[in-house]
Amino acid sequence: MSNAAPTAKPHPKLQPHFHSMEQQLEASTLGMWVFLVTEVMFFGGMFMAYLVYRNMYPHAWVEASHELNWQLGGLNTMVLIMSSLTMALAVRAAMLGQKRGQLVNLSLTILLGCVFLVVKFFEYKAKFEHHLVPGPHFDPTLEQGMQIFFSLYFMLTGVHAAHMIIGIVMMTIILTMAARDSFNAEYYTPVEVAGLYWHFVDIVWIFLFPLLYLLGRHGA
C-alpha cells in the first residue's frame, strides 16, 4: 500500500467532474443511500398490501403461515446474516487493501447468496406440489384470504430473490475487480456501495421472516 499523495497528481480512478476522491466517494455513498430509500418504498407498497390483508383476514393468514416451512425460513435468515458479516468484512479488507481478505470474504458472500437461493428453490417447489401457488391450481378448499397470502408471499419473496440475484451478479463483478487489485485505502467505492445494497437486501429478509413464516406458531 502506497502513501496517500492526492495533491500530486489526480488518482487514476478520479472522474473528471469530481475535484477529489473524497467527493467522489461521498457522492457514490450518498447515491446508494438515496437509491436504498427508493428500494424501501418499492418493497413498502407490498408491505402496505400485507398490512391491509392481514388486518382483513387475520385467521386465514395464520392458517396460511402454517403452510410455510419456518425451519427453512430460519435457516435462510441465518445464511443471510452470515453473508452480511462476510460482506462487511470484505469492505473492511478493501479499506485495508488486503487482497486475500477481499477474495475470501467476497467468495463466501456469493456462496451464501447461492445457498439462500437454493433453499428458496426447494421451498417454492414444495408450494407447487401442495397446490399453494395462486391461480387455477390453487387448492379450492382453503379459506378465503389464503390465496392472497400466497400471492403476496410469492411477490415479496420473488422480488427479494430477484434482488439477491442482482446482488450476486454485482458481487461477482466486484470479485473480479478485487482479483485485479482494483481496491485500496484510497479507492474502495464500488465495494462499499455494493455492500450497502447487500445489507439492505438482508434487512428486507429480516422483516419478511417473522411476518411470513412465524405468524401462527403459537396457535398451532
Binding site: L30, V40, W70, M82, A88, L89, R92, G195, P210
Partner: protein, 99 residues
Amino acid sequence: MSHQVPSIRMYVSVFLALLLFTATTVWVAGLDLGALNTPVALGIAITKGSLVILFFMGVRHNTPLTKTVAISGFLWLLILFSLGMNDYLTRGWLGIAGR
C-alpha cells in the same frame, strides 16, 4: 464519513447478536402473547435491522445527511401505512352503508 477501520471483533459481536435475536424471534413466536405477538416480532426485526444499518452499513459514523436519508425512507413508509390504514380501520365508523 469516517475512515477509521472498524475492528473484526465489532463485526463478529454484531453478527452474534443478530443470530441471538433470530433465535429469540422464533422462540417468542411459539408463545401465545395474544395481541402482543406481532409488535414483539416487529420490535425484534426493527432492532435487527437497526443493528445492520448502524454497524454493518456504518451509519453510526456517517454524516448527518446520510442518517437523515436512511431514516426518511422509513418515515415515508409510515405516511403510506398510517394514512392508508386511516381508511381501512375507519370503514363503517359513520354509519353510512358501505363506507
